[in-house]
Assembly symmetry: C2
Homo-oligomer: 187 residues x 2
């Protein structure tokens, strides 16, 4: 392996990719729904159940998340790659994404959040914190409502045979998992 | 999709899996190296380059990270699934993992950190923050040294044909990405 000393910003910072793409859903104060794909995300706590998403202050979604009390995070199959790429390629400041792309929208049941259709799972999250790290903010949400496609969650996590997760490799490049699972429980 | 209202802890909180497994490396005050696989991790900032890992206070690694000034995070191929599962199945409190499993160890060059061998990329991170969220702490590190296998990073992110990332589905279950990339830049 090659070693590089890092003093400022590295040439690339994507060695931990691929990461699954989640879509953040949030209502603007005027009631319009906005969606943004994000790959900087993850679980932060089991009990209470907390999930975090990192969003740059440059993004319109950052402005909406700062104002909102709740947001959604949804998980999508590989088959939606083109749609999700489109959603990420324009700003809600310029475009009403729901109208422009004819997005299917599910209304949250536990919280006032929009959820992008076609997901195999979604979280309705009550915003509990906004933590500035460096050039992104980490928005922390507490799980209040959970949507899951029963069929693909017959086991524990999603079954990649039934719903291949959308993986992101940076720069408009996507992938998906192999359908096989290696189960090491018995070994 | 089925909807479930969540008041306390959900039955499962793994809908955002699969996630790549990273291995956290940290030295104990007595100079011994310890390693722990983690799936709650991600980028937090590009400039400055910050990376975060979520670790439960129950873990020995949490104790070490709390005391340490630096830690490593390394990315591993699917071929190391069995070794990484073993590393995650015992605690450094009971076992010297390096000696027990005969682990190959790379010494950090920018910082005093151990890096698990066999990785296709690794970060040497200076600890800059420890944020308690719920039942986990988020350890934030600033990138000071970067290791990358030049061959698999000829493009931007890792090439899944050359190094299939180790994906985790919870409960000892692992997967890997398909070798093909869908490039939507031209579309």
């Amino acid at each position: 392996m090659r070693f590089v000393e890092v003093s400022t910003k590295p040439r690339r910072f994507v060695h931990f990719y691929p990461a699954t793409v989640v879509v953040i859903g949030v209502y603007a104060p005027d009631g319009r729904a906005n969606f943004m794909p994000a790959v900087w995300h993850g679980g932060l706590s089991f009990d209470p159940p907390l999930f975090g998403v990192g969003v740059s202050p440059k993004r319109f979604t950052h402005e909406l998340l700062t104002k909102a009390a709740a947001f959604s995070v949804s998980m999508h199959p590989y088959q939606q790659a083109r749609l999700i790429q489109k959603i990420g390629s324009v700003s809600g400041r310029q475009v009403d994404k729901v109208a422009t792309f004819g997005l299917e929208l599910i209304r949250g049941r536990a919280l006032k959040v929009p959820i992008l259709g076609g997901a195999y799972a979604a979280y309705e999250l009550e915003k509990t914190d906004q933590i500035t790290t460096g050039d992104h903010d980490l928005f922390v949400g507490r799980l209040r409502g959970l949507w899951e496609d029963e069929e693909v969650f017959a086991g524990d996590a999603v079954d990649p045979k039934l719903a291949p997760s959308l993986l992101y490799y940076g720069r408009y490049r996507y992938g998906r998992p192999q359908p096989e699972i290696l189960d090491l429980e018995e070994e």
